[in-house]
């Protein structure tokens, strides 16, 4: 009985830790020396081990175009489109945003807020996919365990459409 209580208490603790942990992202969009440059469409999401989507974190595209015309090219982020995008209506509140220029972009997700508060403990990956008009497409994956036991700095490097991708976990 006491054991049960203890594990219940522990489970509660873990659940609370999960809620308190934070996820920070630093996404680099490289400066490219090309004749015709358009800012890339970028999708950032949390992926389950079976490649299904646990949560969308951000989608940067031409949100301001009239009649939602910017949505026409969302399919070019083909992995994200298959796993998540095609199931949704655009724009998506709290996820859709304008395209970003070359440079480093900081994103912070608080453990108590959406979508991390609903994230069950387990193995996930941050996935960043970029597709650029008259350019290429690239996908970068950074696996991590949730909730983090300690502060962690994970990173991966894109090759042409993405630069350095950093994932910072704070328990």
């Amino acid at each position: 009985m006491r054991k049960l209580l203890l594990s219940a208490l522990l489970a509660g603790l873990i659940a609370r830790t999960a809620q308190a942990a934070d996820l920070g992202l630093n996404i680099e969009i490289p400066r490219l020396d090309v004749a015709e440059y358009h800012r890339p469409y970028v999708a950032i999401w949390l992926e389950n081990p079976d490649q299904s989507v646990a949560a969308d974190l951000a989608v940067w595209y031409d949100v301001a175009k009239k009649n939602n015309e910017g949505a026409e090219w969302l399919k070019d982020m083909r992995q994200w489109w298959r796993r998540s995008g095609r199931n949704q209506q655009f724009p998506v509140d709290g996820v859709s945003g304008a395209t970003r220029p070359a440079g480093r972009h900081e994103l912070a997700f608080a453990g108590g807020g959406k979508p991390l508060a609903d994230l069950k403990p387990g193995r996930y990956a941050v996935v960043v996919e970029a597709a650029r008009e008259v350019g290429g497409r690239e996908l970068v994956r950074v696996p991590f365990d949730w909730p983090p036991a300690q502060a962690e700095h994970l990173s991966a490097q894109g090759e042409h459409e993405l630069g350095a991708i950093a994932v910072n976990l704070k328990p």
Binding site: N67, N68, E69, A71, E72, W73, L74, K75, R78, Q79, W81, R82, G85, R86, N87
Partner: protein, 266 residues
Amino acid sequence: MKTAIRFAAALALALPAAAHAHDAWMRPSSTVLSGTDSWITVDAAVGNDKFYFNHAPLRLDNLVIVAPDGKPAEAQNQNRGKLRSTFDLQLSQTGTYRIAVVNDGVFARWKQDGQPKRYFGKPDGLAAAVPAQAQELEISQSLGRVETFATAGKPSPLQPVGKGLELVPVTHPNDLYAGETATFQMMLDGKPAAALDVAIVPGGSRYRDQINEIEVTTGQDGKFQVQWPQPGLYWVEARAEDDRTSVPKASKRRLSYSATLEVLQP
């Protein structure tokens, strides 16, 4: 008379099972789309090399497009060129469009005063075409479907047609990726078509030395699987023959099915 011959010849081209010479296929400009009210354009042709236009256009008289809600959709800007037919289609609903050319006709041949004669066309024109004194009359029915699929947004379920030879998706035809295995079921008049040979031909043969055709046979449940070796367009084809005719005096029924499927890079 001249028009009749031309019509018959053209119909023969549109009925590959009857002609036994060339394959028919469609080539959609896109199969997976985002955004709303997107357009696709589709080429349709008859010829052996997938998907090159080098023989004849496919007649669009029997073009049937079914929208995601099950209602018919209208093709725009139909045109028949020397080597291909084209039409445009607006995907105004979310879901999957089934785009098909369905040919349901008869082929008759006989001798009249020692001369060989023949008729290709609709069954209701048969009586007028064949004289009472026709000798060695042979009539066969032909039912063929040439189709492709395009999806705006989320793929929607496809209802089986239930008539003739058809491919019923287990894996959705607009959710195909290189390296993955897709499962389909072949049906004949709505029932599993067992032990049926299915040919799967990748496009782009002009830029390689081999056709690289994949040959599979359906199981007892009519199902077959294919692991896509690379992204691109594929032509999937099957033929059958039986005696379940509906036209009087027809001795056999020829059935054919072909679909153009796009496999994406994951």
